[in-house]
Symmetry: D4
Subunit: 169 residues, 8 copies
């Protein structure tokens, strides 16, 4: 695989079911990535090294997923000038609203680009949008992707008109 | 001013007090921008034209602020491949939690990079981080910005050690 | 079927299980309708055309269902003078509270008539109430409907008095 | 004044500051209305009589505002086939979220068309949209209203382009 | 059965699984009751008659359960001087928080004694506490009930000390 | 003053502004009461003694107000068979929703009759409703109170009809 | 077993599934403990005796778990100078957010050290951190525990690098 | 001042008004402390050094206050075996509920002892309770503190009995 331009990070392998959707979506855009399990609380030294060296290792965007207290994306954002995309993960009693608040409500000067709860696919699309600013081939794939989104909807609508809702289901 | 690379959009001038912080912060990074008042609900045709032509007019990032139902950032995101940063604005009875949900919880395929409620400054920093991927001078200014954030905190801590908390206040 | 007077719109076929209840309820009132899958974010041009031409095509009311960011009803409302009824759909981590806020909290000048979360049947009843203002036959069916609601409750109460709660269940 | 077609109801005069915006907006559409203070809990007999006789007295739409437990719109909706528009009013410790839930979450068969918290103006616009289905002059005024909304936004944008944001404020 | 002193009311038989716990608990206190299905929205005339005649028919306490908009307890409270106990029922997307707010947040002058979400048993205990103020035999049964609650906990603790937690489960 | 039948308890004098409304309302019903400041956390022994002796000292109802963690009403309810009415008090960052949950969500067997946030007046009305079951003079005063509530609303409505809303305000 | 230094308390055996994780985690640190079922509402006298005698019986820390109204930890904290750790337990309609608020929002002077909802393991770790201040052997075990947490994450990351995410799952 | 045993940390001097209450309360217990401004996001290296060296520098407890995303207490907890007490600070649109969730909902193995929103005084009391386990003089001061809490309440109650509530206010 080519030199990764996106780093996918999660703090625990319990987040992998969601975060593997980032990887799958990046692959569909042919964006090389690396995926790591590094915890902000349980392996802080490793995270420190990972985030501070990310830019020089060639990463352009970091996508971090976390549930509950969900400090991972924000801690990374404090350690790099790369754009950091945060994926709040639905887990536990508060169902991800805790993660959404913790990832979005960052203090002045240290933003995290927050997507929807469990919005792993969208994190990958956002990374593609960012990278496509300097990559015309990727921009072209991204346009195809958006076109396909539209065609899918149109196809479903056509099917609905053809079958009616009782047979559609 | 140079050709704008960031478009700042709001749906109403009631959002300008918050959104002007985006402009001020972009200026500190020497990032050229344009600022527009275009409503998703009250001027949808104009918004349609604005968003679909944004990339060809040279914009790289769009920052949209909105309160309450806050559809503006998401509607723009449906009309362009540019990264769209959404600023939930604190207003009305729900205090911005409605805007946060409406901006962050976008459907698959159409992300909005959500920052904190009233996080206008951070939207500008995030735009700078994205643009700095292909602009070394901006990257240098961004590093200075982060360094200054750190020095400010250190300066306050030094003052606290010197004065004690009773005199600090 | 007669010329539709109600347009039922959803952004994704994942909403069809709920939104088909609108159709079924409208049928019971003998109100002709059309049902479409058109996304505000993935097929915005189509939605633009659909909503701006709705009145001239004979529609009187539009019922739009959406979950999560749930921009669909509001975007339609910005494009037509027809009354738009919004159905917040329960989905994802926030369970529909995001959709409720996004649909109800519309800005001044552009209302959406919001019903309960998953309140698809009620959206149809509300449409019938609106249409019955100029349709005495429909008004008569609506009165029968309300009478039947009352009789159903009375029937259940009578059964409860007859059987007692232990046997009722 | 002409025979009222819209009934504005509130349970307490503490809601009049918000609900008088309904009246003002209806007047701008030249829609005749009546305004009443009738409480669901403190004057239930009067409310019963008011709501059950509303249609035969010529009303077409009822707009009811209420805060906190906010039962008024729903109770009226149980007593008439007229469309009932509910305005959740911001008041007390829960800031209107209690009223929003209580008005929107009506049971099957008895909808209330809920607008935003304190959305009194929008309730009037929605009533106008409903009444315009059978009133071409009103439809024309409604189109002017929507056009003016758009022109206002465009005017503000033009002013912003002329002055820049520093002078705009 | 003796003349009922407690009226149990629900608006729909979907609430009977919860509300039958009221009946069972009242039976354990030997408190005669009646149970009715009467909807505030679908059978308002019946509810009006039921609530206004409750005191003269010998009822002392009314226990009303409702989910979602949950207007039933409050509407009854507006129609009688009897104490009304409200049971918020867990249902739908908001899981009962809508019902809790709608039942508890009553306006000045018209209280509803709200118990916990799904707290049907506790509604019966509260009714027993109220009735025991003028019924020494019931007071004695209530004291036995509270004593038994305490002994149950003590018995479980004793078992835990004997078995340890691994075997207790 | 006569032998108190209602005990008003609060944990701190910061709650007195709200809880004095209980006293004023009870006085209007001529219900004798006592008012105490006893904290569940800071004076638990005193609270223990107060609650366990309340019934034998002649109290019939205890009304306890508390904000934030708001354990006071529930702790009292565990120590007596008297009905306990809880008043959640609006205070601190969570604005009383913490107190509402803590007072309403009592475990099986130990109910607290919860009124609205800051619903001190309603707590007194509820106590009057309970006491009126065995006190016909009080019942008569309570009926006058409810009648007056209704007349007040009617008076305001009459004034509104006379003046119109512009002059009413 | 040695003299207990930690008391684990719950109000009902329905909390044992969660609270037994406290015990298991304490055992892994070789911290002697006792576990009791004592309810604040159903056995208040026993709780009073338990908490007031805890320090003299040799306990150093009390860990109390509770759901819903969740008064147990706070009531204990009012009766002892020992540090009290509260575990909000996920249960009922509000899913533990009620318990979190009730345990965390204690009034001035009477803190409860609140951990996450269902955070029973963490309550034990916190107790170990407190006890390790005066117990070097425990401190050593605690360091091993933290080291192991880190090694576990590193092991998972190594496995992910070796297998890739498709095979990891 | 003696060698500090408590470290008070905040990320910004905007938190000092709240966090200085920690210092004042610790002084009343004669507990030596240090107070630092170190940001998890803006000065992560300094925080890393501070937290990893805290134990060897003689600190026994760390009290960290933070608002909004509020990562500070949790990040410190990942870097030390000392007990960390977190103070959620009320700020911004979400009023501190974001900070409460972010501080309390820590992942397994890394607890933060969370106190109430703005509960700075209580953080100091909790630290005193922890330190008093090995410091009998402090334990004595803590007992005096709790005794004084109780006497304050009793004094207020006595004043209320003497004056009545009308004169008390």
């Amino acid at each position: 695989m080519a030199q990764p331009t996106v780093g996918i990070v999660m703090g625990s392998d319990s987040d992998m079911e969601v975060m593997s959707q980032v990887a799958a979506q990046l692959e569909s855009f042919e964006i090389p990535y690396e995926m790591r399990i590094i915890s902000a609380h349980r392996a802080p030294r490793l995270l420190f090294d990972y985030a501070t060296s990310a830019a020089e290792r060639g990463l352009k965007v970091i996508i971090a997923g976390a549930g509950a207290a969900a400090h991972l994306p924000g801690v990374i954002a404090g350690l790099t000038t790369l754009p950091v995309i945060g994926v709040p993960i639905q887990s536990g009693a508060l169902n991800g609203v805790d993660a959404l608040y913790s990832i979005a409500q960052m203090p002045p000067g240290v933003p995290v680009a927050t997507v929807s709860i469990n919005g792993a696919r969208n994190a990958a699309v956002l990374a593609a949008q960012i990278l496509s600013l300097a990559d015309n081939e990727l921009l072209s794939r991204l346009r195809d992707f958006k076109e396909k989104l539209s065609l899918d909807v149109q196809g479903k609508d056509a099917k609905l008109q053809r079958l009616g809702w009782r047979d559609y289901r």
